[in-house]
């Protein structure tokens, strides 16, 4: 029974090749709200499944599998140009880390919080994806660069979301990575650090292909001020929640 739960969980906290299901779903759903819901709910189902199961017997195998899955999808992020798919790859690279954290015996609340923490960045990227698609027909990097000059507010949001995706300090992803690194074996820690490095590299490439450089592409309206404030508020909430969680307040 436990083995079955773990295999089932591998679809929800995606481990390659079970991760193909999530990525197909993420690519297939066109409704932005439905896609957001998928990103938030999908890994939590996996969390509940592994909470019911027993990871100990398959620990070393699972750790290797999860680490390799994380590295593989982090590497795929370098080659993907559609921001929605990029967000899905980020999620597919981040969620295997839940397995590694779960093996360290956290509380139920910590595991849920950890999962939310590493889900925040892909969710922010989904918002970016929709904002880009609405203005430039598609959120495809490299077609329309240099947005910083004409769309400063949207560019600011892209930069913040990408920094979150790169798991930089203050963002919950950073503290989540510190938490999982704290209890990892040397081999796994190297794998996690490599994943982190690839996220940063992919993030830098994404910024280079969208925000910076000479402006190209059609004239488009910038993000409304009210929406910018809303996104800023959301970012503050995410950062604050991350700090509260790692500070032990929750």
């Amino acid at each position: 029974m436990s083995g079955l739960l773990i295999i089932l969980a591998a679809f929800f906290l995606p481990l390659f090749p079970a991760s193909l299901v999530f990525n197909r779903l993420a690519a297939g759903i066109q409704n932005p709200l439905a896609r957001l819901a998928l990103f938030i709910v999908w890994p939590q189902i996996g969390v509940f499944l592994i909470l019911w199961g027993d990871l100990a017997p398959a620990g070393p195998v699972l750790a290797t599998w999860a680490t390799l899955s994380a590295i593989f999808y982090a590497f795929r992020m370098l080659t993907v140009r559609e921001v929605g798919r990029w967000a899905a790859m980020l999620a597919s690279s981040a969620w295997p880390l839940v397995w590694l954290f779960a093996m360290q015996g956290p509380t139920e609340a910590d595991l849920i919080a950890f999962t939310l923490a590493i889900t925040a960045a892909p969710v922010l990227m989904l918002l970016v994806r929709d904002a880009l698609a609405r203005r430039l027909e598609a959120a495809y990097t490299g077609l329309h660069g240099g947005l910083a000059r004409d769309l400063p507010r949207l560019s600011g949001v892209i930069v913040i979301a990408t920094l979150a995706a790169m798991a930089l300090p203050l963002f919950p992803g950073f503290f989540a990575l510190l938490a999982v690194l704290g209890g990892a074996t040397l081999g796994v820690a190297i794998g996690i650090l490599l994943t982190w490095l690839l996220w940063s590299w992919a993030g830098a490439r994404l910024l280079q292909a969208t925000v910076f450089g000479p402006r190209s592409g059609p004239i488009a309206a910038d993000l409304p001020v009210s929406t910018t404030w809303l996104v800023a508020g959301l970012v503050v909430v995410i950062v604050a929640a991350g700090l509260l969680w790692t500070g032990g307040a929750v």
């Binding site: 140009r81 559609e82 798919r85 430039l136 027909e137 598609a138 495809y140 490299g142 077609l143 329309h144 000059r149 000479p214 190209s216 059609p218 004239i219």
Partner: protein, 1045 residues
């Protein structure tokens, strides 16, 4: 493979021809303003701009949105726009029929984007359908054979193969190739910046690089088999021929391909082009290189990269394979091209990316079948939307919807043709605004002749920055100012104190014949003090290979103090530094020609000094132990004029062999020999100017500005230069007429000549009577602070010393007033009522502030060039935008002086103007981008980041303000005050200037003082026009001094 001589020469001449459009790039130590399209100046301006766009991918005009902003600010003439639109409309009947005047004016002034959009698959039927709301066709617009033909058209044979691969496979071979080539250039062309030098440079670029590349493990590990290519030929020409044959490039397009390869990195190519032809340039003499070497290396690397990709990723390795690929898989190639050129429909990008990654023909065909109709629809709709938007803005929404397809096609063609040429229309409107404003300010009527001579006459450079201070000087005191090219018409080659190389202090179009040597007076002690020694030691530690590792730990804190001082309180810190640093010693210039005897004596004196050092070095014998006779005898022996034992050998008991050995050492190591002495004599022969030359240059300078009488007590020759810290572009702010150097030396040279009694006597015979109490005094105008510092005061006659304080007071006051005026342009938020003293202090700070990216605006906003008498512009605020060349046609009946002004100063002014023009319209391509990302490369230029082409042109901080043009990009408006025929003949007499005027690189106006009429060169002919009117501010006549009897 040995290449036949004829073929080698053919390749060499192809490279030479291909480099013609590439502008020379001079090392930035002496920044030379130049026209980036100098090689295309024989074409009319609009055509050259178009060709420049094709060659250098740079824009020739501002984007429409920028012109619209200038129009809103009143910097553009709306009437001219309407006139030009009407003229354009006359040739476009289809547009006329639909109310073209309003439509085109609306298009220009209200729509930011072009109205004609790019259509690759949609035709006019699709546009008409979209306009009329017809459902789009689902038919594919073309078959795959047509697609294949189009692709072949995209990749003509003269296009480098790697570009095709990059666009079809996203390989970035071009980027990698540039990086590898730039690294080679940085290694080879280094002029003392690197601690470790590239070995074998003295053998030339290609040979040195080949030797290294053959055993470069890093290249080998990347799969680049350079060696296999290099074994094909020993010579760069042979390698070029082999590679082009290997790639399957037909020989008839080699020339075009070479043009593309060289213009791809036109910064390095321009530098190599200049360097290979520069005379007496130390680095090129030591380490030769030319564009054939450069091209050969580029092609070797390109072929190696192509082969590596072809092997690893199954791509075409030559043109035949590319052709086969397009023929066999046209659909996939088309989709690849769409995706990797960025032309893909955003909504289909993901699907296209997936399908080309998998490469399955059936899937490719399916996606193409969906993609082409979608593309056709999208293009049709986008065009229709743009037309509808324009019609709405023009207040006639149905204008385009009512047109049938045939008329719509004509209208679209006419609109496209109009938009292609709209840049000239904007430019002319901008120029009209400036022309009216500037001409309206000129005062034609000469003032009454002066009864008394002025307190001082000051000669300034024609540079636009002199205009403000000249105006302020004339406003506050009895100063008469003149404008003359900053080298004062004296081409000088200078060997400065402590330097071994020559600097040419004259426009780059002139090669100086005469050499001037700067020598220390010996008034100051030149002992190396403790501070200087410590500075040298630190410098050496920083630049060696290993020492920085421990230097940072040991003394890094010292640099920290330096950094804090320079950042927090630059002015105070700099003053303190000056107190502990030893300044430059006082010097004299050797301006007079040496006689044969004098030169011989100088050589003998030098040889004696060297012999004394040699004796000390070889035997440890001090000077007091040897006599002059011994030294003379040794010298004679070394020069082979003495046979037998020398007194030195006798007194110090040297054996015959030891004596012979020492004599040989003197001859070989210390160069005391006949041939070297002869060479020294020849060099000394170049030093100085003969009396005839001195008289000629002084007379020429004075006549050219019309100063032939009423000489003041002080005739101040003001050279100029700039002072800033941490600024690789400092020399760009120096004097262009002095070859990008300071103008002080030129001023000192002319002052020396002008003060010479024998020169004055000869001038008197020519009718230029300089009174005995007139003294030519050199001065230096620091254009960053506007401070004017007087030089060579120790030579000033005692009779003049009493006037010195008055002179200094006046100069200081003018400096402060100018600083207050300029501060508003540098810091627009400054309170306009700010005290002049405080303003001067803030301006002064820019000379030492290492964080300041814009110490001064330099020549930005230059727009006019006035050749005429000062009364035309006196008391008129020209806002520091005009070159002012003094000229009085009455003293130049044959027009020779005017011709020389047109040949030198005007051409230099045009280069400066065009450099600013193109740097402002497209700073990324023709300018050098932001200074913030610049790094000095090889001590000769700057690059962006750690690897880029050499950045030519001006940085954004020089021509842009907050990302928008500060410099008004317009062509130089030249005004000549002279009788029409006199001026026209002079223009026709200088073929270069005639061509510049005829081709529209310079705008020309002749102001005839005798008829009061204005003649303007428009559309290939001179037209008489009325002078624009404007209110001229009246000024007070300054106090005057009495003219001595």
């Amino acid at each position: 493979m040995t290449l036949p001589l004829g073929r080698g020469l053919k390749i060499r001449s192809m490279v030479h021809m291909a480099a013609e459009p590439i502008p020379n790039f001079w090392p930035m130590r002496t920044f030379i303003h130049h026209n980036p399209l100098h090689g295309l100046e024989d074409l009319p301006f609009p055509d050259a701009v178009e060709q420049g766009e094709a060659l250098f991918h740079g824009r020739g005009f501002l984007p429409r949105a920028d012109y619209q902003r200038l129009l809103a600010e009143g910097r553009l003439d709306r009437d001219t726009i309407e006139e030009r639109v009407a003229e354009a409309l006359a040739e476009r009947p289809a547009l006329q029929e639909i109310g073209g005047q309003d439509l085109l004016c609306t298009l220009l002034t209200e729509r930011r984007e072009p109205v004609v959009t790019k259509r690759t698959v949609a035709d006019v039927h699709d546009v008409a359908g979209a306009l009329q709301g017809r459902p789009p066709s689902d038919q594919a617009p073309m078959d795959v054979e047509t697609l294949a033909d189009r692709l072949r058209g995209c990749f003509p044979a003269e296009r480098p193969l790697y570009e095709a691969l990059d666009l079809l496979f996203d390989t970035r071979i071009g980027e990698t190739l540039d990086e590898l080539l730039i690294k080679t250039c940085l290694d080879f062309f280094d002029e003392g910046q690197s601690a470790w030098k590239m070995p074998g440079r003295e053998q030339g670029l290609f040979t040195a690089w080949s030797a290294l590349a053959r055993r470069n493990l890093r290249l080998f590990l990347r799969g680049l088999h350079i060696k296999r290519i290099l074994v094909q030929s020993e010579t760069p020409e042979g390698i070029i021929a082999y590679i082009l044959d290997e790639l399957g490039i037909p020989e008839d397009v080699w020339q075009d391909l070479i043009v593309r390869e060289l213009t791809h990195m036109h910064g390095w190519a321009g530098f190599i082009r200049w360097r290979s032809t520069a005379s007496r340039y130390y680095w090129s003499e030591e380490y030769p290189a030319d564009l054939v070497d450069f091209l050969a290396i580029r092609l070797v690397l390109a072929l190696a990269l192509i082969r590596e990709h072809a092997r690893r990723q199954k791509m075409p390795g030559n043109r035949a394979e590319l052709e086969a690929l397009i023929t066999e898989r046209p659909a996939e190639c088309y989709l690849r091209h769409e995706l990797f050129t960025g032309g893909v429909l955003p909504t289909h990008a993901e699907a296209v990316e997936d399908v080309v990654a998998r490469g399955r023909p059936a899937e490719v065909a399916a996606v193409l079948a969906r993609y082409l109709p979608a593309k056709r629809r999208a293009e049709g709709e986008r065009q229709a939307l743009a037309l509808d938007d324009l019609a709405q803005l023009a207040g006639a929404p149905s204008t385009f919807r009512e047109l049938d397809e045939e008329r719509l096609a004509t209208v679209l063609d006419e609109l496209a043709a109009f938009e292609k040429r709209e840049g000239m229309l904007w430019l002319e409107a901008m120029e009209a605004t400036y022309r009216r404003s500037m001409l309206g300010k000129l005062r034609l009527t000469p003032p009454e002749p002066r009864e008394k001579r002025p307190f001082a006459q000051m000669l300034f450079c024609i540079d636009v920055r002199s205009e403000r201070i000249r105006r302020q000087l004339e406003t506050i005191g009895d100063y008469q100012t003149y404008g003359i090219a900053g080298f004062f018409g004296v081409p000088v080659s200078l060997i400065a104190l402590g330097k071994g190389s020559e600097d040419h202090l004259c426009p780059v179009v002139v090669t100086p014949k005469n050499l001037v040597l700067e020598v220390a007076t010996g008034a100051e002690k030149i002992d190396t003090d403790l501070y200087s020694s410590a500075e040298h030691l630190l410098h050496d530690l920083k630049h060696s290979v290993l020492s920085p590792y421990f230097t940072v730990e040991a003394i890094g804190l010292l640099f920290g103090f330096d950094m804090i001082g320079k950042t927090v309180a630059p002015s105070a810190y700099n003053r303190w530094r000056h107190k502990i640093e030893s300044g430059k010693p006082s010097t004299r210039l050797m301006v007079d020609k040496l006689t044969r005897e004098q030169a011989d004596s100088v050589v003998r004196a030098l040889q004696r000094v060297i012999i004394v050092r040699a004796i000390h070095q070889e035997f440890g014998i001090e000077r007091e132990s040897i006599t002059d006779a011994m030294i003379r005898e040794l010298r004679e022996a070394a020069m082979e004029n003495h046979v037998g034992q020398t007194a030195f050998a006798r007194d110090f008991a040297l054996s015959e062999s030891a004596e012979s050995k020492f004599i040989r050492t003197l001859q070989d190591d210390y160069r005391i020999n006949r041939s070297y002495a002869q060479m020294q004599l020849e060099r000394l022969g170049r030093i100085g100017f003969s009396l005839d030359e001195q008289t000629y240059f002084v007379a020429q300078a004075l006549r050219s500005i019309g100063l032939t009488e009423q000489f003041s007590r002080f005739v101040i020759l003001t050279g100029h230069g700039s002072q800033s810290d941490n600024n690789p572009y400092e020399s760009a702010l120096d004097c262009g007429a002095c070859g990008g150097s300071h103008g002080l030396v030129s001023a000192r040279v002319l002052a020396h000549m002008g003060n010479k009694p024998e020169v004055r006597r000869r001038l008197r015979e020519q009718g230029i009577d300089i009174p005995d109490d007139a003294w030519f005094l050199p001065a230096f105008h620091n254009t960053t602070s506007d401070e004017i510092r007087l030089h060579d005061l120790d030579l000033l006659p005692a009779s003049h010393l009493v006037y010195l304080e008055r002179l200094r007071n006046g100069l200081r006051a003018a400096m402060r007033r100018t600083a207050a005026e300029r501060l508003q342009t540098l810091e627009p938020e400054t309170d306009p009522t700010l005290d002049a003293v405080k303003a001067a202090r803030r301006i002064q700070r820019n000379t030492v502030d290492w964080t300041q990216v814009r110490p001064e605006w330099g020549l930005a906003r230059n727009a006019g060039f006035i050749i005429g008498r000062r009364h035309l512009t006196e008391a008129t605020d020209l806002a520091g935008r005009t070159f002012l060349q003094s000229y009085d046609y009455r003293v130049d009946p044959k027009g020779r002086l005017l011709e020389s002004i047109l040949t030198g100063p005007l051409v230099v002014g045009q280069w400066i103007n065009m450099e600013h023009y193109f740097s402002a319209v497209d700073n990324e391509h023709y300018g050098s981008g932001s200074k913030a990302y610049h790094n000095v490369a090889c001590r000769l230029g700057v690059i962006t980041g750690n690897l880029s082409d050499l950045r030519t042109g001006l940085p954004s901080q020089t021509v842009l303000f907050d990302g928008l043009p500060y410099h008004d990009p317009i062509r130089l408006l030249t005004v000549i005050e002279a009788p029409f025929e006199h001026a026209r003949t002079a223009i026709d007499g200088v073929s270069k200037v005639k061509s510049l005027v005829a081709n529209g690189w310079v705008l020309c106006v002749i102001l005839d003082p005798e008829t009061g009429r204005l003649h303007r060169f428009v559309d290939g002919e001179w037209r008489e026009e009325a002078l624009p009117s404007a209110d001229i501010e009246a000024t007070d006549q300054p106090d005057a001094e009495e003219i001595p009897a």
